[in-house]
Amino acid sequence: MTITPEFEAQIDEVITHYPVSKRSASLPLLHLFQEKFGFISDEAIAWIANKLELQPINILELVTFYPMFRRSPAGQTHIRVCRTLSCAMGGSYELRDKIANACGIDIEKWKANFAGRETGDEEHTHSTDLEQHHVHNAGHGNPIAVSADGKYSIEFVECLASCGTAPVAMVNDNFYERVDPDKPDRIAEILESRESDATKPKIRPPHPKEKRVVFANIDREGWSNDIETYLLYGGYQELKKALTMPRTEIVDEVKKSGLRGRGGAGFSCGMKWGFIKPDEKKPVYLICNADESEPGTFKDRYIIHQDPHQLLEGMIISCYAVNARLAYIYIRGEFPEGAQILEKALAQARAKGFLGKNILGSGFDCEIYVHRGAGAYICGEETGLIESLEGKRAYPRIKPPYFPAVLGLYQSPTIVNNVETLCDIKHIVKMGGVEYAKLGKPNNTGTRILCVSGDVTRPGYYELEVGAVTMGELINDICGGLKPGRKLKAVIPGGSSAKVLKAGEKYKLKEKQADGLMAEREITLEDIPMDFDSLAACGSMAGSGGVIVMDDSRDMVETLNNINEFYAHESCGQCTPCREGSLWMKKITDRMIAGGGVERDPAVLKSVADNIAGRTICAFGEACSWPTQSFVAKFKEEFDNYAKKPVPPPMPPEYNPDELIAKEKIETVPGARNGGVMAPAATK
């Protein structure tokens, strides 16, 4: 490993992005090393630790936590296939096998070789057993299968935030959509191609029912992500306007707009900003949550790739409003092209004086940096994100006391907002809060981008006024209905953690009538208005806007197992119920699918989920248990069918104590061991 002066200069530059704590540069440095050397060697770990004045364990902790980092080389061409629900429904398991075959990787051999965890082999973390990922959920990352000639390697990864174009794959840093496993030509093409689908211009006119605000320029003819194009169409005008307004007035406009966060929790944005004291003495930080990794969600990706300046403008306005002088865009590691586009956009904005010192002569200074994640879903949770940005494992923090607005990044007040939310800010400044609030419905204002994937004819993203369409209109009209001859079975309405809704269910919805009185009406799945409150009233949530549609060809136990695998793989492992429960639920559904389901499994599944929800550090606890709770309750018969075996008698102990005593060479003589280096003996 040679560190050239140029490489070290690059490293030193990156470190300047983190004026408060060098440790924050851990992840960026690991990315630089992996890009340069192909993997993270022990030497690299030691070098980085030394450079950042950390202990080597601090870096090892990261390398083993973030799945994108490898401790052994991959092939020259490294392929990542999305394994998660929408892609799996689109054939990604088959796709992985076919790509492996095309690359000369003996997939059956990998499948047969269950090394690693099962034997307690210490080398398990480097296991090249691909199937281990599926069966045992490899500890930190995804086992990589490398072809014998070292040319190709392949791994399964979790949702790449393009579920509407399933199945998807990445070839090195390039991204490919709709990689049909049945089209060998397409597979050959992506293995050879140099052009990524992520940056290929697409032109797609919006559906007539759409109300394009944030997505106004997405897939638009003549549009590019360059600043000149952005300026041509009135870019950065809202920033100019905002800088003439008092900060509190912007916060007030946002409060009036009724904007609710688009990242999943739907928390009032104005209220969140209101937590920052106008006379705050500590520095305030703003973080854009661009981790987009809730399965079924694919909207931030397009803003970043196609309209990055809209995001930057929204961010700079937001920074001004909450008086943040330093902001980060935490972008998921699997968006390498997105990160580059943002870097370029930032440089352009800086060059034009929209960013940096004394922005547009206003006296306001603001700097924004891009920070890349490395494949861990939990970095989307805001406190996990903050820990990750501080250069640590993304362990969410307990709240209280660590509410980001009080004790966030570097223990300072911090605002974390989703990409879409921050883009909305620009439009609120443009329209005024009251005007914006006229979009959508009361308490559910504005537009939302709904991402539809799964079994519909026209999956994709649709920006709609919140609550303007019903589930039925969304699926049957906007998305072109189900595939021919298929019937609707279920819908997950807000990202894979939202509780599933079953076709044929009846819900009771309380609504305010024209005369101001409340009335209750019974509705079906198709009647549910697509807004926060209605979906919550129907026992699920609007979440991140990811709508996954399943038709009657889908097996609900298999579906839940796919979701369980995602959550078992993504649990950060910090708190007991989620760490143990998420894997347990996955082991049960695994066993059920393998034919080993016992009578009490559905009941145990439910009770395990019940024992997680509400008892964990972060909302991942709910995210991983709601699917199980809802699937088992709503598709009881299907689960019972998989759970026919009688419950076996209690398991015998795995090993008997005598064996272990012999194995561990247990010494029983006092003083037989030397305890290591000691201080000089006292004599009294």
């Binding site: 024992n611 561990e664 006092p670 003083g671 201080a679 006292a682």
Partner: protein, 560 residues
């Protein structure tokens, strides 16, 4: 004071009390794994979940009062952890509602599904929180039918600590201790989710001199002491509260022994001295007590070698020899700043009776480690100063004594240290006409001695010591001295008696009594009044401290 309702009863606690501590003080123990009062609170084990509520607020933003005039409580529907939040005015806590019981049961089940069935061979058995709580809160029957996660077992994390990762409950206490207390960020988690495993970087070992504290605070048998491993079931151990004698701080300790053998020493919480911690070097430094070369009785020189004799013979021989040089400048004495106050007091009397002019103690100075170990490696320098056995600069007179021995001005030496460590060469020592020494193990001085008085080690005797901060603390007997070896104070008493007649001392309490009469700092105290946590005797400048707690040392909150 803050008013809190715990399980329906209103109580008061000082502001800043953690909820979990308030409950403990109210007699409602809350099970916990990750919480440790001396470390940060990550809230990761979720064992301490309770139901919590805050006063219900009326439309006037004032608490709504119930029929009893107390605030009504609005209970939060989700369970809350009690280890990371302080109590607040009007807060309600339920420690045993059905929801709380259900939470504990759930967490216990989760912790056990991947836990090995190792109890029969696990060192922690008997003091394992997991074992303990599973009896109290666990399910009788496991519902887990699948493969357990396999993790590394029997890993040497460092020279003194062995890891069984399968038993680890991932509470992160050990990581936090190493980072926050030992200032050596050497432990961490690798992998994630259910596969998370505690580890060191392969290039770095857990070799801090504080590593064994991680074993103490590990709530389960994941970290075990390589020294203690598999030696003894903890429930057989007799526990004796005492203090460490390896330096001037005097960490409070618990000595675990069985049938006169010490198996381990663990730190005992004392917030005025060592918090909950102690250095490895100190806790493992007890094996010399079981050294087979220990003196099993007094010996006197016959011809060119030492031979065992009965105690009266030895005492008389020693008195006879010392008297020969008494009241002359040819007799010198080297006392020890590791002796107890009682011993030093008697040594002082003996010196007075013999008219010894030249005396001092051997100073032992090392580098302070910035954590617990001070520069002074003697356990009772403060006592030696207070009782007049040395001056402001301990050891200042040793060169004079060494010179006297070298020139032959000094002919006899009463010695409570190995004189060759005090600047006297072996050759010079050999020139002395008489050496009376008291020790537990042979050394260069005992080899040349006329009389060797076989005494007791720190765990074999009682007495008091004053630490560098002026705190008076108590040694207790855990085991008895081997063979005919005797308590140091008894030997000294008999020697004084043989030199100058009866002295009215029959018990160690009598020594303390006489000392308290003569030395004002000890006035009003007795060995029993010192208590388990000691008494602040001297203030920083060595003067008598104001003693508020002389009679009843306040018991501290029990530790986790």
């Amino acid at each position: 004071m803050v008013n809190v309702q715990i399980d329906g009863v209103w109580m008061q606690f000082p502001k800043g009390t953690r909820m979990i501590e308030a409950c403990t003080q109210a007699g409602k123990f809350i099970p916990r794994y990750c919480y440790h009062p001396k470390l940060s609170s990550p809230g990761n084990c979720r064992m301490c979940l309770i139901e919590m509520g805050m006063p219900k607020m009326g439309p006037d933003r004032k608490p709504v009062l119930g029929a009893d005039g107390k605030p009504e409580i609005a209970w939060i529907p989700r369970p809350q952890i009690s280890c990371a939040q302080d109590i607040a005015e009007g807060m309600g806590i339920r420690t045993s509602s059905p929801m709380v019981e259900d939470c504990r049961k759930g967490v216990m089940e989760f912790l056990l599904i991947n836990h090995p069935l190792d109890c029969p061979i696990c060192d922690q058995a008997g003091e394992c929180r997991l074992q303990e709580f599973s009896v109290e809160y666990g399910n009788a029957q496991s519902r887990f039918l699948d493969q357990k996660v396999k993790k590394p077992k029997n890993v040497e994390l460092g020279p003194r600590v062995t890891l069984d990762a399968e038993r680890c409950v991932l509470c992160s206490r050990c990581i936090r201790f190493m980072k926050e207390v030992a200032n050596d960020d050497v432990l961490g988690f690798v992998d994630r989710g259910s596969f998370s495993t505690i580890a060191c970087h392969p290039d770095r070992q857990l070799d801090s001199n504080y590593s064994l504290n991680t074993v103490d605070i590990c709530p389960v048998g994941a970290l075990t002491s390589s020294d203690f491993r598999f030696k003894m079931r903890v429930w057989f151990l007799k526990e004796t509260k005492s203090i460490d004698v390896n330096d001037g701080l005097g960490c409070n300790i618990t000595i675990g022994s069985r049938e006169n053998i010490i198996y381990r020493i663990t730190p005992r919480e004392n917030n005025d001295v060592n918090s909950c911690w102690m250095p490895d070097s100190h806790r493992l430094n007890f094996k010399y007590l079981h050294n087979e070369r220990r003196f099993l009785g007094p010996q006197i020189k016959t011809g060119s070698s030492l031979a065992p004799v009965e105690w009266p013979v030895a005492i008389n021989r020693a008195a006879e020899q010392l008297k020969k040089y008494a009241l002359t400048s040819s007799l010198a004495m080297i006392a020890s700043a590791r002796m107890t106050n009682e011993e030093l007091f008697l040594v002082g009397r003996l010196a007075k009776a013999l008219g010894i002019q030249k005396f001092d103690v051997l100073p032992r100075v090392g580098e302070a480690d910035g954590i617990l170990i001070p520069a002074d490696r003697n356990s009772n320098t403060s006592g030696a100063k207070l009782l007049g056995l040395t001056g402001e600069r301990p050891g200042a007179r040793l060169p004079e004594i060494a010179e006297g021995v070298r020139t032959g001005a000094i002919k006899a030496l009463l010695c409570f240290e190995d004189a060759t460590r005090c600047g006297i060469s072996e050759t010079d020592l050999a020139k002395l006409e008489s050496i009376v020494t008291m020790d537990i193990l042979p050394n260069k001085t005992t080899a040349l001695a006329s009389v060797v008085l076989a005494s007791s080690g720190f765990a074999e005797k009682r007495g008091s010591l004053i630490n560098i901060n002026g705190r008076l603390q108590r040694l207790n007997r855990a085991i008895s001295a081997p063979g005919e070896a005797r308590d140091d104070w008894e030997i000294l008493r008999d020697l004084i008696q043989a030199v100058s007649g009866s002295n009215g001392i029959y018990m160690i309490e009598d020594v303390f009594k006489q000392m308290a009469e003569e030395v004002s700092a000890f006035a009003g105290l007795s060995l029993s009044k010192i208590g388990d946590l000691g008494v602040q005797l001297l203030s920083g400048d060595g003067k008598a401290a104001e003693r508020l707690d002389a009679d009843q040392p306040v018991a501290k909150t029990p530790t986790a």
